[in-house]
Symmetry: C2
Subunit: 200 residues, 2 copies
DNA sequence: CGGGGCTGATGACAAACGTCATGACCTGTC
DNA sequence: GACAGGTCATGACGTTTGTCATCAGCCCCG
């Protein structure tokens, strides 16, 4: 019997998935959570054998929750995500995640994947894995990404500068570099592109 | 027996929901689709009694599919959405949708909601409905919204102008008006805000 | 130890952007 | 029929932004 923790901010999916997995004779959902922080809290209380986490569940992202759960409980984590890009997969694997599943995966396959991961093996969506091997890696530096992340909300450069404690001119330079690397005409287009690639 | 069409681009949710609803004695899922166009096609073939559609399923949005299905089959439609904002609800109701359910609804409630709608009544998430009555309506004109929609991807004004066949100066005027109405410092911030409100 | 890359900053310059005033036309409404 | 409001355009203006050159400190790797 594999005891599961299920975390997703969409009650609809979490509930339906809970029912579906509960129908399997060897699976049992012993805990649920609607955000990353709650997931860690519940995990510490119910001590599941495996955690299935959504990547996007504000407040507190799933990746942080996955890291916390892995370190504090030492159990395998399966990440489920809508925004399945190679860069996201890389970050997930770096965080020690054992399973990576896009939400376009047939529901019937999830149980097998959980068993696979529980048996000590890994599971990575083959489609994403293939992309990760061929697609370009992120050419941006940490600073450039940080500034792009802030630029994404559309605030002017002076505000970005204030947020990261830099001179406005410096911010413009980083943005200019990022735009050049991404071939974007404006910093907003660059931020948009970086987000679509999963880099920020 | 209520015969259902289920459409959602996330196979995980669609599959799990299908199983869950199939457990109800009076419900049966007779068709599934992963995007708006397919939903209409399948609906015409299987002739369900009711359609449950996700709002966001590229390509082809769920609202268009809902309108098509309502007009061509005359059956009630329940819209399910992650991005549940008052403006979205208004558009959905205007399209003749009979049920409006955010994805944060407990999965166990969906079956009742389907029965309610099938019985000829309406169901609107009370939380969103309350917001729709109190929150400000969109102050932007159709043109402003159209231009903001394009501006969202971060392209320069000249490109926006080309896309809508307008002079660049005119585009700037609309953007300026939109920014003033929304209290945004840049057109990107305005576009961001408008999107968060569900206006575009 | 010297190059190369990231970080942080400055100044100058051209282009893009946001603001404002102004005018034209069309469509509803009082 | 006057009036208000949306659409479309132009020109002028000052500001913001993107580009480029240049410099300094830092760290890592060969």
């Amino acid at each position: 019997m594999i005891r599961l923790l299920l975390a997703d901010d969409e009650d609809l999916l979490r509930g339906a998935l809970g029912t579906l997995l509960g129908l399997e004779p060897d699976l049992r959902v012993v805990g649920e959570a609607a955000d990353g922080l709650a997931a860690v809290r519940v995990a510490l209380r119910v001590r599941p054998d495996l955690a299935v986490l959504d990547l996007e569940m504000p407040p507190g992202d799933g990746l942080q929750a996955a890291t916390d759960i892995r370190i504090r409980l030492g159990i395998p984590v399966v990440l489920v995500t809508r925004h399945a890009r190679p860069a996201v997969l890389r970050r997930a694997l770096a965080a020690g995640v054992r399973g990576f599943v896009p939400k376009t995966t047939p529901a019937t396959r999830l149980a097998e994947i959980i068993r696979t991961v529980h048996a000590g093996r890994r599971y990575v969506d083959p489609e994403i894995a293939a992309s990760a091997l061929t697609e370009d890696d992120c050419p941006l530096t940490a600073r450039e990404l940080e500034i792009l992340r802030i630029a994404r909300s559309g605030v002017p450069i002076t505000e970005i500068a204030a947020a990261v404690h830099l001179a406005p001119g410096t911010v413009r330079n980083y943005l200019s570099a990022a735009m050049a690397k991404l071939g974007a005409a404006t910093r907003h287009a660059a931020a948009h592109h970086a987000w679509e690639q999963g880099w920020i």
